[in-house]
């Protein structure tokens, strides 16, 4: 059994939720039309992931396996609602932008997946680190997709113009099809990097 470092790092590259396990693709495709939206969604998901992993790991010996899925869903849905209300109150503009996709974090299979596959079988601290690593990996993935789409589709990065005045925006990249294009090309690139390294 390796240490906490591995538990954290695996989420970032080796088992990256989006690029390696292809989990949580709905938010990864839907809200990544800019870096800032991607990062905000990633952070919201990370919060839910860490909190639900903590609670699930704490209760792992109490919850009978027959009702574990409903129990996990209740825990996850509660934290998602907490994020939803908190963002609505203190990050109103971002809440409006992400809109429907905040409540939809409930059905992000990444979060239920980590509860089921990891937190329900590991001690609390290890589960927290796992949640953090996966969350950071998810946020990074969304930021990368968001950056690619924002640069190509809008000529900006974090709102600053980076492509020069001659650049014609590839509008399709910030429209829904652009999400699939960016995702597919990035997946290919990361797989190629892996192949070269091994």
């Amino acid at each position: 059994m390796s240490g906490y470092g591995h538990e954290f790092n695996k989420g970032i590259w080796l088992e990256n939720p989006v690029f390696k396990m292809a989990l949580g693709l709905c938010p990864a495709l839907a809200v990544t039309n800019s870096v800032i939206n991607g990062v905000a969604m990633g952070l919201a998901s990370t919060f839910v992931l860490v909190c639900s992993n903590t609670v699930v790991a704490t209760l792992r010996n109490v919850i009978p396996s027959k009702v574990r899925i409903p129990s996990f869903i209740i825990v996850i849905a509660s934290f998602v609602t907490i994020v939803d209300l908190t963002m609505n109150a203190y990050a109103h503009q971002m809440h409006k932008t992400l809109g429907l996709f905040i409540p939809l974090i409930v059905v992000n299979c990444l979060i239920l997946g980590r509860s089921e596959a990891f937190a329900s079988r590991h001690p609390i601290l290890r589960s927290i680190v796992d949640g953090l690593g996966m969350g950071v990996g998810f946020t990074l993935a969304l930021a990368v997709i968001g950056a690619a789409r924002e640069i190509l589709g809008n000529g900006t990065l974090l709102g600053y113009h980076v492509m020069g005045s001659d650049y014609t925006d590839m509008l399709v990249m910030i429209l829904p099809p652009g999400a699939f294009l960016a995702m597919g090309v990035l997946l290919g690139i990361f797989n190629a990097i892996d192949r070269v390294r091994s």
Binding site: I74, H92, D169, L171, I174
Partner: protein
């Protein structure tokens, strides 16, 4: 067997109770800020469509019943001699994707103080340019008397946006309808009387 089921029910009930407790706490804490943000949003849109006029959205309004649909909330800016301007929401149902919600401000003489896009789902980068100040501002000072509320492509006076004609057309139509409604209901809308 019964004992097993009892345990399942108990565990689920306890988890639900815990979740409900946590949520009620968060709800209690965030209720005020959320209401405040919503109010702030209304105030911002009112200031955009009736620049310089003071309106308290909690007090300065009347609800005017319409032939169809629910009553329309009219925000009214009070002044010494009646009403200085009114603002109300119109919906453009024929946008490129989904309804466009518009707040429009009208002075008692029927000229527009301005429009504000409250929410829309138009194409980013094309139709979404309707939210740019530059485009919205072309509505300022227009009225049924001095403007043909059609986009230039349709022979009217409203600038379309390159690559996006449908969204401006929808908005121009909705604003025109709003102005006609205002003219038809002018007496009710401007009538004295307390709102709330």
């Amino acid at each position: 067997m019964m004992k097993g089921i009892g345990r399942l029910i108990l565990v689920l009930a306890v988890i639900c109770a815990g979740a409900a407790f946590a949520l009620s706490l968060v709800f209690a804490v965030t209720k005020e800020p959320i209401a405040y943000q919503k109010k702030l949003e209304v105030i911002r849109s009112l200031q955009a469509v009736l620049p310089g006029l003071a309106i308290d959205p909690d007090r300065d309004f009347i609800d005017v019943p319409r032939e169809e649909g629910e009553a329309l909330r009219i925000f009214r800016s009070p002044s010494d001699d009646g009403i200085a301007g009114v603002a109300f929401e119109v919906i453009a149902p024929d946008g490129y994707s989904g309804n466009i919600y518009i707040m429009m401000g009208v002075f008692p003489d029927g000229t527009l103080g301005g429009i504000e896009i409250l929410s829309h789902a138009e194409t980013p980068g094309l139709g979404s340019l309707i939210t740019e100040e530059e485009w919205k501002s072309i509505f300022k000072g227009r009225s049924l008397a001095n403007t043909n509320f059609k986009v230039k492509k349709d022979g009217g006076d409203i600038d379309q946006i390159t690559g996006a004609t449908i969204s401006p057309r929808a908005i121009a139509g909705a604003v025109e309808k709003g102005l006609r409604w205002f003219e038809a209901n002018r007496d009710t809308v401007l009538a004295a009387g307390e709102g709330a």
